[in-house]
Amino acid sequence: MKENGKFFVGLGGVALVVTYLIWTGVSESMLYYLTPVELMARVEQDPTFHQVGVKVSGRVERGSWSRAEDELLHHFTVIDLLDESVRFPVEYRDILPDTFNDTENVDVVIEGRFREDGVFEATVVLAKCGSRYEATAEELLG
């Protein structure tokens, strides 16, 4: 029984360590996952929210994308999926995924910080070209 006891202490230890890792991992890397509407409301309520890293899912506004001529710097506008009047400009300094474009309704998830000047400084841009994956009968006809 003594060995069994020792053994269960060991197992309990492992379980505790894993729990601890998950706990600290979450608290140190968590990001609010918001829609543009929610982001605006948050920032209005609490201006310190500008300092916090957030993840936002929205849609790329058609025709809003431009790239700096000789510098890897993209500008585009993200709009809310439900309320198109809610929008903000985005700056991104890395390579955009191929699925990103501003000619179709491309859904994006961006990660970064919503600066005080109203520009979202993105560090990650994931694009999902939702409308293009599967079409209804009407779309196929057109």
Binding site: E3, E28, L31, D98, L126, A137, L141
Partner: protein, 683 residues
């Protein structure tokens, strides 16, 4: 052919249901004729699914765009092998593909057991056909019928997403699906053992090879997926902790745990309930993987379809399956008592148990992180996400602990290990590991976690090599064989053990490769033809890339292609040049696909991305003035070791699975753990 396929799909469902009922009733009432009828249904369902799949592929190959599924995933100019791969390009086809593979494995399991293990077969047939029938019901009644017709036939289809027009498309999904579906067989045998009350280790011995087979395909499927993601821009490199990637890793982690814990049951008659739980968990995770990939419930870069109706059906199915097996385990609980107890903290069973707990801890943390946005949104109304930093942070220590166990496991004895023996076995590996760390540190490697990883991998490698050497020597001495022959016999007489060690070598290589990421370098530069980009390697040498300009050939199913050529020199000496491309595919003219260029060397990859062409339209027209472009150049350290490690894992897996002559391996072990004299001599 297409109509025949559709008809076959409809016939398969009643056949499957009848077979399931016949299996269960035949088992309960001990009616041999019913059981036989059920087994025939297993073959019939497989045959019908072959017809169904052939029907779908025919529709693709003959450009029959009247079918919604074909119109959505193909176009006339699409190369033939992507048309065939259309079977698993979208949700509808991949569900058919799933049942096809499941029914194939079911038929194989019934066929190989047609004369033996008969007492398990009734319920095995019942369980397998129940699962197949579930998928068939989904296919026919959940708005995902692949044979759904449009009211008209479009002139051309919408084409396959360019990101999927990659040769890995024909390899990666089938491999992963083979792994997912193969695990249904051990699950069915486990359930049959519970239902029939044959609760000894027989079900494990029968399905051991199936478990390995499933594990093997899962491992390869994951590695192939990593390679594909590595070659694709926008998928975040070889591993991004994306929900869909995580979904494929979860059953692999659980299956790995299971592979180890069944050995405790085989050797020591312990952990019977645990193994029943683990086989159920692994099976559920394979279903969960399809569910997550195909439901679109969680945002992923790999989600190619959304259907929330399917999501709920799958959830319900997983719930029912979990409930049934929990009830069965509870019912048989008294008969699942352990025959032995842990005798010592320092024993192999204890090491295996820690391995189980750590693997499941990793699986739990990954599941938790993946579902975190859903959980937090449900509880607080605001979704909170965790990204790669979370997964890396949690799984790095877990990975290191697993590596340490891979070293400890092989040299620690069953039941009770003596401290003196441990010290003797660990002295040299610890010294080698420490020397590797010291040498790397002196050479300028100061990244703590990477050093720890390299040190541990040297430790494990040494232990495994020493094991091989000791085993070979002992055998050579006792049997009087030459060393080469002794080595061959050593491995071939206990394939699972030595194959397993080889798999460990591969896994350690892959873990080592992950640590290489800490030393990667990258550079972004805009250049005109004739300009050079220079990037240093952490190994001290320097690459100079000279931009030679763009050309515009045209490949099959492509509208336009811009290929940038870079000649490369290493320390001034010319080496293999690199190309990187932007391609416009037919039907996908608004978003060019970026094709990266990779030069692989033993210790690093030179990786080139054509980020932007200032005047892409001009470049497509071969205009001389439209050549200015921006490149990202990366030196990816040790990344090749993932693929080398993958080969080693494959090799070890094949050795472990290879059918053995005679049945010595399935004989029950004796008190000494059934060790052959040659092996017993070493401990």
């Amino acid at each position: 052919m297409i109509l025949l396929g559709e008809l076959a799909l409809w016939i398969a469902l009643p056949v499957g249901i009848w077979g399931a009922v016949a299996g269960f009733v035949g088992g309960r009432k001990e009616r041999g004729d019913l059981v036989l009828s059920g087994e025939h249904c297993v073959y019939a369902v497989f045959f019908l699914l072959v017809l169904t799949s052939a029907g779908i592929i025919t529709a693709f190959v003959t450009d029959n765009f009247e079918y919604w599924y074909v119109a959505n995933y193909s176009n006339r100019e699409l190369p033939l092998f992507y048309k065939v791969a259309g079977l698993w390009a979208g949700q509808r086809g991949s569900l058919v593909f799933w049942v096809l593979l499941l029914s194939f494995f079911s038929a194989a399991a019934v066929f190989t057991n047609r004369t033996k293990n008969r007492e398990f077969m009734p319920y095995v047939v019942g369980v397998l056909l129940t699962i197949s029938s579930f998928f068939l019901v989904v296919l026919l009644f959940a708005d995902v019928n692949p044979f759904e017709r449009l009211p008209f036939a479009p002139a051309d289809g919408r084409g396959l997403n360019p990101q999927l027009q990659n040769y890995w498309m024909t390899i990666h999904p089938p491999t992963l699906y083979l792994g997912f579906t193969a695990f249904t067989i051990p699950f069915a045998f486990a359930m049959s053992a519970l239902l029939s009350g044959k609760l000894d280790t027989r079900w494990i011995l029968i399905t051991r090879r199936w478990i390995l087979l499933s594990w093997f395909f899962l491992a390869n499927g994951i590695i192939f997926g990593m390679r594909w993601a590595y070659e694709m821009l926008g998928w975040g490199g070889f591993w991004f902790w994306d929900p869909v990637e995580n979904a494929s890793l979860l059953p692999w982690l659980a299956a790995t745990a299971f592979l180890h814990s069944i050995q405790i049951q085989e050797n020591r008659g312990m952990l019977k309930v645990w193994n029943m739980g683990l086989v159920t968990l692994t099976f559920l995770l394979t279903i969960f993987a399809t569910f997550l990939t195909r439901s679109g419930l969680i945002e992923s870069v790999h989600t190619f379809a959304e259907n929330t109706k399917i999501a709920f059906i799958f959830l319900a199915f997983m719930g029912v399956m979990a409930g049934c097996s929990a009830l069965l385990i509870a019912w048989r609980y008294p008969q699942l008592k352990s025959e032995n107890q842990i005798q010592s903290f320092l024993s192999r069973e204890s090491a295996f148990l820690f391995n189980n707990l750590i693997l499941l801890g990793a699986a739990f943390s990954i599941l938790w992180g993946t579902l975190f946005p859903l959980i937090t949104e449900g509880l607080t109304g605001t979704a909170i996400a965790v990204g790669p930093p979370f997964f890396n942070r949690v799984n790095l220590p877990i990975g290191l602990a697993l590596m340490a166990l891979m070293g400890i496991g092989p040299v620690i004895a069953w039941r009770r290990a003596s401290r003196r023996n441990l010290v003797k076995n660990f002295r040299m590996p610890v010294i080698v590991g420490s020397m590797v760390v010291a040498a790397l540190f002196l050479r300028g490697v100061h990244h703590g976690m990477a050093l720890l990883t390299f040190g541990l991998s040297a430790f494990v490698m040494t232990i495994i090599i020493v094991e091989f050497v000791k085993g070979t020597k002992a055998r050579a001495r006792i049997e009087g064989e030459g060393h080469l022959l002794a080595f061959y016999h050593l491995v071939s007489r206990n394939r699972r053990r030595w194959g397993g060690y080889i798999v460990h070598v591969g896994v350690v290589m892959i873990f080592t490769a992950f640590a290489g990421v800490a030393f990667n370098r990258e550079l972004i530069q805009t250049v005109d033809p004739g300009d050079t980009i220079t990037i240093g390697s952490p190994f001290g040498h320097e690459y100079t890339l000279t931009y030679q300009g763009l050309s515009s050939p045209r490949g099959k199913n492509m509208v336009r292609q811009a290929v940038a050529l870079m000649t490369v020199e290493r320390n001034g000496r010319p080496i293999e040049s690199l190309t990187a491309e932007k391609v416009l595919y037919v039907k996908w003219e608004s978003s060019p696909l970026t094709i990266v260029g990779i030069n692989s060397y033993i210790l690093e990859d030179l990786y080139l991305i054509l980020e932007n062409v200032n005047d892409l339209g001009g470049a497509f027209e071969n205009e001389a003035g439209a050549q200015r472009a921006t490149f990202k150049v990366q030196v990816n350290v040790l990344v090749g070791w993932i693929w080398y490690g993958g080969f080693v894992v494959t090799l070890g897996g094949i050795i472990a699975m290879w059918p053995s002559r005679g049945s010595t391996r399935t004989a029950p072990r004796t008190k000494t753990g059934g060790k052959r004299p040659a092996l017993a001599a070493r401990s």
